[in-house]
């Protein structure tokens, strides 16, 4: 156990010593303030476009636009765009060592393959959690700083108005769930990374699976209903669940368990493959 923790520490050091690890952080650090500044300048136009359909039923006074609302909408990037930053690193964790030939050094040490793969998986989770929470902090924090705070209006099956304090709690919950969702993506990329000896394959492979699964998840065709429970993307929207009233805890718990099962399956397959793998590179 102690050796696994030690290996986890060094795997984390390795991940955070690579330049590619910071591509996501840098992109978020540049893009989020830019979006917030643009919204601050052109926010009213966005509002009129976004709420045009509601103007027949409601009479708006002032603005609904604030940092929290923009942050809420920015969470949509977590579907397709954000996983790129996850697979970029997770896809390289195992395959990168294979390609570089460093497994030869690592695996001749008195550490078991199970410990190696577990420590790498934990380090991948650490990165995933760090970048998702960074997005959350950046998005909500910069949003409030640049555009300002206030009540959050959520338009989903009606209008839900959350006071800032409550909205911040919901964001915290949403981003914790987003960590779990993105960990599923990371676990899949990790699995492909275990099979491959270069990191391009896992990145493309994971993305292909995500896109195909997402398409199948959102298509409303009866024939597809039976396979949807087996698609991990069917549980992706769990991070929007905290913005319902009341919070659907049972649904959230169910989705978290389902995603956990996918993570566990991807991890166990990775372990089995890696333990049987011949290190020939």
């Amino acid at each position: 156990m102690f050796l696994t923790l030690k290996a986890f520490y060094w795997e984390s050091v390795k991940i955070f010593s690579k330049l590619r690890t910071y591509i996501g952080f840098i992109t978020i650090a540049i893009l989020i303030p830019m979006i917030m500044l643009l919204v601050r300048k052109y926010g009213f136009d966005v509002q009129s476009t976004a709420f045009r359909s509601l103007e027949n039923s409601f009479f708006f006074v002032g603005t609904l636009i604030n940092g929290l609302l923009i942050s809420y909408y920015l969470m949509n990037v977590l579907w397709v765009h954000f996983p790129f930053f996850i697979v970029l690193v997770a896809g390289d964790v195992m395959a990168g060592e294979g390609a570089a030939g460093t497994f030869r050094m690592l695996l001749t040490r008195p550490i078991s393959r199970f410990q190696v793969v577990t420590s790498k998986f934990l380090a991948t989770f650490l990165y995933t959690a760090a970048i998702v929470l960074f997005l959350g902090i950046c998005s909500v924090g910069v949003g409030i700083l640049v555009i300002g705070g206030g009540d959050l209006f959520v338009f989903d099956k009606g209008i839900l108005i959350l006071v800032q304090r409550e909205a911040l709690f919901r964001f915290l919950l949403a981003y914790i769930l987003a960590v779990w969702v993105q960990t599923t993506v990371a676990a899949l990329a990790f699995l492909f990374s275990t099979i491959s000896n270069n990191s391009v394959g896992p990145i493309i492979g994971t993305y292909a699976v995500i896109v195909v699964s997402l398409v199948l998840s959102v298509l409303r065709i009866d024939a597809l209903e039976s396979i949807k429970p087996y698609l991990f993307t069917s549980y992706f929207e769990v991070y929007f669940a905290p913005f319902s009233d009341p919070i659907p805890w049972h649904e959230i718990l169910s989705d978290v368990i389902h995603l956990g099962a996918f993570i566990l399956i991807f991890y166990l397959i990775s372990v089995v493959i890696f333990m049987r793998k011949d290190i020939c590179t």
Binding site: L3, G101, R104, T108, P110
Partner: protein, 303 residues
Amino acid sequence: MILKTNNLSKRFKHRLVVSDLNLEVEKGQIFGFLGPNGAGKSTTIRMLLSLIAPTSGNFELFGGDWKTQDKKVYSKVGALVEAPDFYLYLSAERNLKILGELNGWISRNRIYEVLDIVRLKDRARDKVKSFSHGMRQRLGIAQAIMCKPELIILDEPTSGLDPEGIKEIRNLIVSLSKDLECTVFLSSHLLHEIEQVCTHMGIIDHGKLIVQGEVQKLLRETDFFVTEVSTDKPQKALDLLQSEPWVKKVALSDEILKVHLSAECRPKLAECLIRNKIRVSSIIPRTSLEDYYLSLVKRESEK
């Protein structure tokens, strides 16, 4: 017995790379594992280090079977397999720290000590990506010895080194064996390297072990102790030596006499030539492992 393989074999799809290999390496030996490229040396080493699983057969490290033995046994093993690949984006010191920590614990002093041995102390904080191939090779040696192993497995350790570096590494291998009582398993395709460094050797070709034993004994059992002699009258010297009973065999090639005789008869050789007014420019004793090796490999391929 430090290392023993029992009918160790490895098959990649339809290609048998290592076939029924039976090696025995005892404590304190510098065992040379010799063979041409593609003979199965690296595959054997990878099996011994658990990087690949044998198709059949087994091996024992420090008396324990590899299937049942704890991975902790590798804390007593230092290894360098083929090219020394490190984390290029990390410094030499950090690379050694990571690998050393997985062995249990490694002090900063010890890291600098081994870096000093391989002449990389002043580059300790530089990223490995700035290192030349030779420097990486030396760093590979450093990581193999840093945890004071009882068995060192080196796969082509002098590959890519300059002559000075090669000499240093060879001296280091010998001193590790002598001073620290390390057992060394050295794979190489360089015959003279095995000849200069190793006490014992095994020759592998096409995945099969052709011969193994003590280097000098194997050579003594053959005709390949050769003394090369340059004289001003090579033909006269040839005729003279052919008639001497203590000369096993003599031949003339490119004006150089190649004399097969025991080491203790060499003074007699010089004396005989001078007595017969033949001027001697040089007498160079050679143990030709190359000839021995080639004869074995040729014999195997003819089978």
